[in-house]
Symmetry: C2
Subunit: 253 residues, 2 copies
């Protein structure tokens, strides 16, 4: 008989018997013959198929796809081209992750600078301490400060990114000239509300979310103070944001 036992063919192809049993289970590669004792035996045609399987597997293709290719249900080119996209996307993902990890490590080694960051809705955290304390009390500032300082540099970056995204969305909405009381602007106000809610220790943080006073107070401050307003496209944009927020507050808070 010109065939091999399961371990023999496994060695020839550089794999394991367990793998071959698995391939049998899922129908990818059946033994060419099964002995009366239940033993699996493979011939040279099976070896060729197995070698193709190993090759495609090493290229990263999934077993179902390999089965399609080998059974002529799909062309190898097509499958490989699709797979190539996958691989490239994965590589980009990894590149981004590597960059993020490097930046994070750098930040940690840099002593985890906590200051010179933005908070309280885009404020530099320490620079505007007086305004915050004056408006919402020393306690509000202290609690928020403690929370903020507890975050790592990257976490802060994430928060800033959320703030930035929200800001640019506000600006885009303003520039399109939509109605501050319309659905779209109100949806933004809703997001603004949720965002504030995510800052523990402030009058806005907590399950209930910002109080009406805090929400309206912020809205007015965006207009009154250009340092805030800058985050929303300047005085005109800030007015738009304030209007939308005011409508939202009246309707929901």
């Amino acid at each position: 008989m010109d065939d091999w036992s399961i371990q023999e063919i496994a060695k020839l192809a550089g794999t394991t018997s367990r793998t071959l049993r698995h391939y049998d289970d899922i129908g990818l590669l059946a033994p060419s013959r099964i002995g009366g004792n239940g033993y699996r035996y493979y011939d040279d045609r099976a070896l060729v198929r197995l070698q193709r399987i190993m090759l495609l597997r090493d290229l990263g293709l999934g077993l179902p796809v390999i089965a399609e290719v080998l059974d002529r249900e799909a062309s190898a080119q097509h499958a490989l081209l699709g797979h190539l996209e996958w691989l490239r996307n994965e590589q980009e993902r990894l590149a981004r992750q590597i960059a993020s990890v490097e930046r994070t490590i750098g930040a940690l080694e840099g002593g985890e600078r906590l200051m010179a960051d933005q908070m309280f809705d885009g404020f530099d955290h320490t620079q505007y301490k007086e305004e915050v304390e004056q408006r919402w009390g020393k306690d509000a500032y202290a609690k928020s400060d403690a929370w903020w300082r507890g975050l790592s540099a990257d976490e802060k970056a994430a928060w800033r990114e959320r703030a930035t995204t929200l800001g640019t969305d506000w600006i885009a909405a303003f520039e399109r000239g939509i109605d501050p009381a319309g659905d779209e602007a109100q949806a933004l106000a809703q997001r603004h509300f949720e965002w504030l809610r995510g800052i523990p220790g402030t009058p806005g943080g907590g399950a209930g979310g910002p109080t009406k006073e805090y929400f309206l107070g912020l809205a007015e401050m965006y207009v009154a103070d250009d340092r805030f307003g800058a985050n929303y496209g300047g005085p005109a944009g800030a007015e738009f944001v304030r209007d939308a927020m005011t409508v939202y507050a009246e309707r929901n808070l």
Copy 2:
């Protein structure tokens, strides 16, 4: 109560309630409070922890590692540096895979050239047809040829690589001047035997492996024909290989 329901905190952190239950299950993030009805509730401290979890998770860290970092059992720097290695290795792996896939696609598009490849132990497949037929008959050549043509370009490359590796190992052994009858050289002869066995359709392919005649015939041919001998470091190397193979054949075949 300054806390949130499971869905609320999930939205605040940009994840799902299922994930939070999972984190509870594995002990990564327990709810700060559990209602009499079994509901999970999370406070601001839990939110901060959750946000850190999401950040580290986005960097690609595993949940157990994240737990260690957050519980101060391991430093973030250390964990991230280790992770960075992981990521770089993965990226290299992907790069190699991408290159392989591209080469394979190119080969397929190139019409899958089957000739100008090596076989029958390093022979150019078609170039030495006569010798092969003369030594082992037309049938041997035809069967092996059919098998060989059935392989893809990459599969052939894999076979050549195995041949090359074996060849360089032989050469290295020869240059170190070891005993052809010693354990090391005999182990190489064993590998040579296994390798020949993996070529179906030849006098060497099949469960039993090469016959003694085929094995010895090849060994002599390595010495007699420089085209073979070149694969084993020239005439002197070929003699070493022949001696080792002869000993092996006498002992085991």
